[in-house]
Symmetry: C2
Subunit: 260 residues, 2 copies
DNA sequence: GCTTGACCTTGACGTTGGGTCAACCCTTCA
DNA sequence: TGAAGGGTTGACCCAACGTCAAGGTCAAGC
């Protein structure tokens, strides 16, 4: 007769594992000796070794039971099914590895390459790191919400950057983000923005971004929350009859002294 | 300002996941509105998307924190380490698959091919299924305890099977297992055993099995527990001065009426 | 007879990444 | 005013054990 640790040693498992197998009913509880110790016979060793062999081969314990009692054909079927699950798990991990490799390659998290390239271009154009950080946040949300549209939007952005006025705009915005509280600068930005909006309106391009309302609101919120000047700029623009940031709309000009 | 379900939807995760991230400190708890609801800003969306992207790429949540706050070089290092872990996990699963395939190939559990072949030979020699079951149990334990010695032992067994007396022994034992309670048969077995033991003793082969004492005791226990006739046979042999089963020793012959 | 150390017992909590109730509160619409 | 459809916290669930905690038992040495 064997104690639990002898049994465990014979089968190459831990005492804790044996008790676990008892608890889940894989190994029947043996009789106790007069002091309450579990007392095993050699048949338990054999069963435990079988359990351990299957578990070691990646069979979930919940499946070990049926496999032990299975006839050879069902045994083969069961094994095949478990193998299928193992294959699926391996594939999942391999997908993870590829994703991880892509994350390591693109310096940014959660951004497709086109956006990373675009942000790099902005940096080369002299846009400040603080403003880039805000842009990055916005693009992360676009990538999450409208991944199918993002490359087209980026392409449009690159096109806009061909325009010197747009480049000037980025330069001014960048400056404003770095020197906070300069109201004259905000007015200058507003002037430039208005020129660009008017041009876009003439070309019929106002409000043609492909985002849904939710995303538009979210992006405006990002902008408002990431810099205090943003609210002031939007207010100025609204006085002049332009509402929104991600999606621009014409509104009746507002009296600057009227609180909305 | 966003509610938790809006936030979760924007980032493509479940509400429960967001709360989980709060609990483990990955995502800071936001302020509550006057009714106690969590109220998120857009920065939370960005952080949550980043978390989700990393988690989705197989990064354990415990690592996501450091990776999010890491400078690019450390980020690369961390990613590489996680990739190593993913590789290791994949290897582990692949080993499991191979083991599983071997289990499916060999019809028996936990037995090397040599043993399976040996058992097949016994079956061909006409050994009964009941006795084979006992043999299998013993070999399972040998395979678990002394895997390095097993092939040599099996080879020796094959050699013994060349001897007609040994084959006769198996035949008789097999018969005894199937017709229980036939004492004359047990005596016949004992006679044959004694002849074989004497021959082995002359050849100096008695007690040269390579197992340690523990395993020897265990194997004898298997034999004793798996068939009631076994105890009777061992008693007869001990009367004649032979002790043990797995390892045979000479002892002084015993008076059959003396209780030990 | 006493102590010591090794081994046994049960019970409970931790691990990973959340899923799934349960019970109750808040907002909104008819 | 009531019902629907949000929200909140809290607690238990999965797999396969590891790791205490707190105490009973055994064998051996003094």
């Amino acid at each position: 007769m064997l104690t639990i640790s002898q049994l465990a040693t014979y089968a190459g498992v831990t005492v804790r594992a044996v008790r676990h197998y008892h608890k889940i009913g894989l190994l029947p509880e043996p009789a106790r000796d007069r002091s309450g110790y579990r007392s095993y016979d050699s048949a338990a060793v054999v069963r435990l070794i079988r359990i351990h062999t299957l578990a070691d081969a990646g069979v979930p314990l919940a499946r070990v039971q049926e496999l032990l009692d299975a006839a050879p054909e069902q045994f083969g079927d069961g094994v095949q099914e478990i193998d299928k699950e193992l294959r699926a798990e391996i594939r999942r991990l391999q997908v993870s590895r590829r994703r991880l490799a892509m994350l390591a390659a693109g310096e940014q998290l959660a951004l497709p390459q086109s956006v990373v390239d675009y942000l790099d271009r902005l940096r080369r154009e002299g846009v400040s790191e603080r403003y880039l950080e805000m842009e990055r946040g916005a693009w992360i949300m676009i990538a999450a919400q409208a991944p199918e549209a993002i490359d087209a939007v980026i392409a449009a952005k690159h096109e806009q950057l061909e325009d010197p006025d747009t480049r000037k705009l980025y330069s001014l915005v960048s400056e404003a983000v770095d020197n906070q509280g300069d109201d004259a600068l905000l007015v200058e930005i507003a002037d430039l923005l208005e020129r660009l909006y008017l041009r876009a309106a003439e070309a019929g391009q106002l409000g043609d971004e492909p985002f849904d309302d939710q995303l538009v609101e979210l992006l405006d919120a990002v902008m408002l929350e990431s810099a205090p000047e943003a609210a002031r700029l939007l207010a100025i623009m609204e006085e002049r009859g332009w509402k929104g940031w991600t999606r621009i709309e014409r509104v009746p000009p507002r009296d600057p002294d009227t609180q909305p």
